[in-house]
Assembly symmetry: C2
Homo-oligomer: 143 residues x 2
Amino acid sequence: MKDLTKAEALAFLMSKPRTGKLASVRPDGRPHIAPIWFIVDGDDLIFTTWYTTVKAANLKADPRVSLCVDDDTPPYAFVIIEGVAQVQETPDPTEMLRWTTALARRYMGDEVAEAYGKRNAVAGEWLIRLTPTKIVAKSGISD
Amino acid sequence: MKDLTKAEALAFLMSKPRTGKLASVRPDGRPHIAPIWFIVDGDDLIFTTWYTTVKAANLKADPRVSLCVDDDTPPYAFVIIEGVAQVQETPDPTEMLRWTTALARRYMGDEVAEAYGKRNAVAGEWLIRLTPTKIVAKSGISD
C-alpha cells in the first residue's frame, strides 16, 4: 500500500471518467450518498445537482462533504476528499454551460457533449464547487 | 432511466466484485466515506472493518449508514442502500473466517482466498451486518 501525493491524487481523479461518490448528511443526522459526475478545477472539484435532490438540500443545510473515487480492481486504489461545498443556486449561465458541457464531454463523449451540456445548463440546476480540506489517497491496497 | 426491483438491485450488487462506498457520520457531524468489500447475505450486506478505522468508530457511535455501488460506464447504473449496521466486535472465529475467506475469494480470486481470509480473521477485525431499510436503484441513467 502506497500513499499518493496531492498531485498524484488529483491526477487519479482526472485519469478516467470514474464517478465520484458524494457523502453528505441529512438534517436528521443520517448519512446520504450519491454518485456524481465531477471535474477537477485547480484544487477544487466541480459538479452540478438538480435543486430537488436530497444532496442539494443537504449541502444547503450543511456544506461539509466527503467524496470517494476508487479503482475497484486489484490491487485497488482510492482517493477520498473531505471538504466544503460552495453552492451556487443561480450560476452565471455562460459559466454553467461551460461546466455542464465539459462534464458531459468527460462522461458521455464528444459526440453528445453539446446536447447534454445544454440540457443540464438550465434554471434549477445548481453549480457546486467542492474545496478540499483533506485528501487521503492510497494505491496498491491489496498488495 | 429505469428503476430496479429489490431482486434486481441485489443481483446487481453481486454481479461483479465492485466495491461499495460506505457513508457514515462522524461524532462531529461530518460525513465520512470509505470503499469496502462486501457480500450479500440474504437481504443483508456483510463486511468487516479494523477496529481503529474511522468507520468503526462512526458505526459504533451511530449505526445509520448509506452505501453506494455503481456502474460508472454509460449508460450508468447505481444501487444505494440505506440501513443500519450491526457491529460484532468479537465475532465467532469460525464464522469470521468463513466471511473473510468469502470476501477475499470475491475480490481477490480463488488462489489467494484462503491466505487473505486467514489474514483478516483476527482479533481486532469487526464483523458488520448491514440491514437495508431502503433501496434506491436505477439503470440507464444517461439514456
